[in-house]
Amino acid sequence: MEDSGQPAIEVAGLEKRYGDLEAVRGISFSVEPGEIFGFLGPNGAGKSTTISMLCTLVRPTGGTARVDGFDVMADRTEVRRRIGLVFQDTTLDDYLTAQENLRFHAELYGVPRSIVGSRLQEVMEMVGLWDRRTHLVRTFSGGMKRRLEIARGLLHSPRVLFLDEPTVGLDPQTRSHIWDYINVLKARESITMFLTTHYMDEAEHCDRIAIIDHGEVVVIDTPAALKASVGRDRVQLRTDDDEAAIAALGERFGLEATVSEGEVCVQVVGGEEFVPRLFAELGVPIRAVSVARPTLDDVFMRYTGRTIRDAEASASERNRNNVFVRAGTRRG
């Protein structure tokens, strides 16, 4: 059944122009079968345009893309048979029940009638909506609708599931539940997932990430490798005498420290090993210390020269993340 060695998605020099606007500027990458591949970038970077081209909804103006071995231009129907889609905006019929929405999909995709019933139950149970199958979709919350769309996207056993911002507009708790479902999915169905996100913490769930900015792929690697490429951990101190601490850090460790928001901040390789030495050798009383591993924010910063939130200019996100770092929580 599984084609041997053939990439699930293979993209070469793909581009899309709208008049003068180059939405996607000749990107290339390939996704292995069974992988969760994330497209990370700010809104307007070209993520949705790329996904639309891979789903045969938008025609590329240059380059090629193959999904499960089929060309998105030449073999559109073949590609469509093999993909499942979960869009950013809901594409359910509010005036049908959950079950009717799925049956509609099964008929359109020609799922054999003999297995529709069992398959329907299977996917609806997986997203925890089997009990609500006879309810009209308009009575569903945003999170339930998204889960129903995921179930629907899987109904015809696609080889590749595309998820365009699968958690956008959902509250944090629901977002994390959606990720639980995606991870279960990965374990249970031999399926490749291609998703876009502009949430850094969500990109951590991916096997590999492509960072996309201004229509170009800046870098592709695993989250761990990307963070390792940034290298140094960030150590933040609160001391009784910041100036003396900065001077001591310079003299005894050869580190250049800065003060931000009342904390002394240095970047070192192996932050955790550095802390004991710090207490032993600094000579200035330390009141608190925190170590932060490089995050994908740092990775994004390194490769694009700005934070994703600068690109997004989303104030609420910025606040939440500051709290996160200052609490000394480590990620990754």
Partner: protein
């Protein structure tokens, strides 16, 4: 939120696409969706009836009092209006169904259909037939009032009327989908009503005889596709009621093309051809790649 169920291995599903059977399945499910949605909107069914009923019994009765002379003897003007009001029911219901594509686009469901591995022609045909079925059902409900306006409940007459209504519904749905393909937003619906639906309705002779009209108006009535559906319905009704000959001549005059009286069969053929042509344009509009 419920626990995540971990169970059962997943059978791989063979997904079809491209064969005639797949396309017929697509036509069928899109058609069924229209019926499900219609059956669920009781309010829409009732409001869809209220307008024609008001036209028939209020406007029809009012006009009866001023046109008895031309109608001759005891002829009931509401009998004249009945086929026009049937056409009106079909017209309004059909346009509403067809334009619901714009709602589908707005709420995203259209995309669910457009990315499926089936031909666009199958989706559009299903939509058109679904809308036509719904409108015909709504029109058939109006037949209940036939006896109140002097039209007999003859089975053959009723069947002929249902068939003509189905044809009308098909033509108007196909036209409506063409219009919907160019509509960007739901708000444009008012514009469509003002500039397409109401002119079509009034020019078709649904409410007044196409007789002794000034030349400009007479030309316009012959350009209206609905004319070739309202007139056959009226002929059918008149063949079952007792109408004085002079009243018949003034109320149901022949539609002429450059002096040639167009037979009912030709009007029906013209309508079928128009319906198929509209459907072809609609399919073309929705098949254009982005």
């Amino acid at each position: 939120m419920t626990d995540i169920q971990a169970s059962a291995t997943v059978a791989s599903v063979r997904v079809a696409g491209g064969t005639l059977r797949d396309d017929l399945r697509a036509v069928s499910i899109v058609w069924r969706r229209e019926l499900i949605r219609f059956g669920r909107s009781k309010l829409r069914i009732i409001t869809g009836l209220s307008q024609p009923v008001i036209y028939l019994f209020v406007l029809g009765t009012g006009l009866s009092s001023i046109v008895p002379a031309s109608a001759g003897g005891n002829f009931n003007y509401r009998t004249f209006m009945f086929p026009g009001v049937l056409a009106m029911t079909i017209l309004f219901t059909s346009i509403f169904s067809a334009v619901s594509i714009v709602w589908d686009r707005e709420f995203g469901f259209l995309r669910e259909m457009l990315v499926a591995p089936v031909r666009r022609s199958a989706l559009i045909t299903g939509k058109c037939l679904g809308g036509a079925t719904v409108a015909t059902a709504q029109g058939a409900l109006m037949l209940v009032f036939a006896g109140f306006v002097g039209v007999p409940y003859s089975p053959v007459l009723l069947i002929e009327l249902v068939l003509l209504m189905a044809l009308t519904a098909f033509v108007v749905n196909a036209l409506g989908i063409v219009i919907a393909s160019r509509m960007e937003q739901v708000e444009s619906f008012q514009v469509v009503m003002q500039f397409v639906v109401l002119p079509m309705f009034f020019l078709s002779g649904a409410l007044f005889p196409l007789n002794g009209l000034p030349r400009w108006l007479s030309v316009l009535t012959r350009l209206d596709p609905l004319t070739y559906l309202v007139q056959p319905m009226r002929r059918v009704v008149f063949s079952y009621v007792d109408v004085p000959p002079d009243a018949r001549a003034s109320l149901a005059p022949d539609v002429t093309w450059f002096g040639w009286p167009v037979p009912v069969s030709v009007m029906v053929l013209v309508s079928i051809a128009l319906g198929l042509a509209f459907l072809g344009v609609a399919v073309y509009q929705f098949s254009k790649p982005e």
